[in-house]
Symmetry: C2
Subunit: 250 residues, 2 copies
């Protein structure tokens, strides 16, 4: 299927996947034409996948710490998760660490979550046909589902403060790897992401060691979180946005 050369959206009649390398590039896409996969590997979307897998009733992503606080004032029995610059904000129950999203902590609970990058990407994607959440934890379940949809797919890398980052891009490339079939139509960013995944796939943690983001995360003392988030296929739940809530796709 040929790509429309003046527009990012693949022409009708087939399907393709595009990679949006940072949320700052989202205005280039007609988001309403796509199923969007939001990606924030370290650590928001990994933790969301793990939390939904572990029985969280819903995760409500919000943009601002203040919105998160507002839920406390409503007197609801919600868990409040807020992170800025990779750290838990004072006064909140927890942040983005996947170890906070175990079954004993989250089963049956609703969590209100604000993070630096992931919720930003998610909110900018609101006009999509559907928004689902991806991470290495649920990659094969997600990719299998995506293949069945036969819709155009936009993999949105949350990046770091609108900048490109390698970990989200490598994950996008890993999804492309599973989607590739005859007639499948990737854009240049999808080709690049997939090629970078080919380079890194033997040892993704090792590959990412050379990034500045890795240095930043090390300073935050979250090496264990990183190793956790790079595990493949330990979950099968696909979080999907329904209204303002991320819930398990059924």
């Amino acid at each position: 299927m040929p790509t429309n050369i003046d527009d990012q959206t693949p022409t009708s009649g087939g399907w393709g996947a595009h990679v949006c390398l940072t949320p700052a590039l989202l205005p280039l896409y007609n988001v309403a034409d796509y199923i969007v996969v939001v990606i924030d590997i370290f650590r928001a979307t990994s933790s969301i996948c793990y939390g939904i897998e572990n029985g969280a009733e819903a995760i409500i992503p919000v943009s601002e710490v203040e919105e998160c606080s507002a839920y406390r004032e409503k007197g609801l029995d919600y868990l409040l998760a807020a992170e800025r610059d990779g750290k838990v904000v004072d006064g909140f129950d927890f942040g983005n660490s996947p170890f906070s999203y175990t079954a004993e902590k989250v089963a049956g609970k609703t969590i209100v979550l604000t993070t630096t990058n992931g919720t930003h990407a998610l909110h900018l994607s609101r006009s999509a046909k559907k928004i689902v959440i991806g991470s290495f934890l649920n990659i094969t379940a997600l990719s299998t589902w995506l293949k069945k949809q036969q819709e155009n797919i936009l993999l949105v890398c949350s990046g770091w403060k609108n900048n490109f980052n390698l970990e989200d891009t490598l994950f996008a490339g890993a999804v492309i790897e599973q989607l590739k079939t005859p007639g499948f139509d990737p854009d240049d960013a999808a080709i690049a992401a997939n090629d970078l995944f080919q380079l890194g796939k033997g040892d993704i943690n090792g590959y990412l060691q050379k990034t500045s983001h890795s240095e930043r995360l090390k300073k935050l003392g979250i090496e264990k979180d990183i190793a956790f988030c790079l595990q493949t296929d330990i979950t099968t739940a696909i979080p999907v946005l329904q209204g303002e809530r991320l819930v398990k796709l059924v």
Copy 2:
């Protein structure tokens, strides 16, 4: 040298190179802190390098076709080059093909040039410490000069209508390859660009065949131009912006 984690600009005391993957990401950078290299491999910056090498007195990049036309009305003996969507605009002397920039055509002449992507990137970079023009044609002369500056360097990929493209990214990665020294500080985009260059360097034209851009360019019948633009080190001139004119750096 550590990178300032909240800001793209490397901290003082050393030097680094960052890759801006499309002009749409330029607002993320404090452009005034950098020497900017503008990259539009197919074909604006390749043709500019070739034209300046071949004795063009100056090349004046302008954003709009109308600005280009305005120079004709001034009655000056300028060559007017205008391209949109990869084609010469009706009524202009030529467009972006490097074969229009031979010595016999351009020596001693001033050329007014407007293109789809390259001049867009150039105009958005105007606040830089200095703006120079890069292509495979002058890559080693350019990289050698960049290394001597010991300034932070921003490699700006012009892309295609603000979208990421592989050819400009591969060139950025090729420059990174020449700049790499102990203490050199690339960002994630520079690491990715360099890794993609490593994948493609054995046969860059072959590597780029898989891109949709390559399909578009083939439709325009400019395979010869593409092969020309991928030649390495056939020129040594470095075009630099002085006021509104690109001239030979001396």
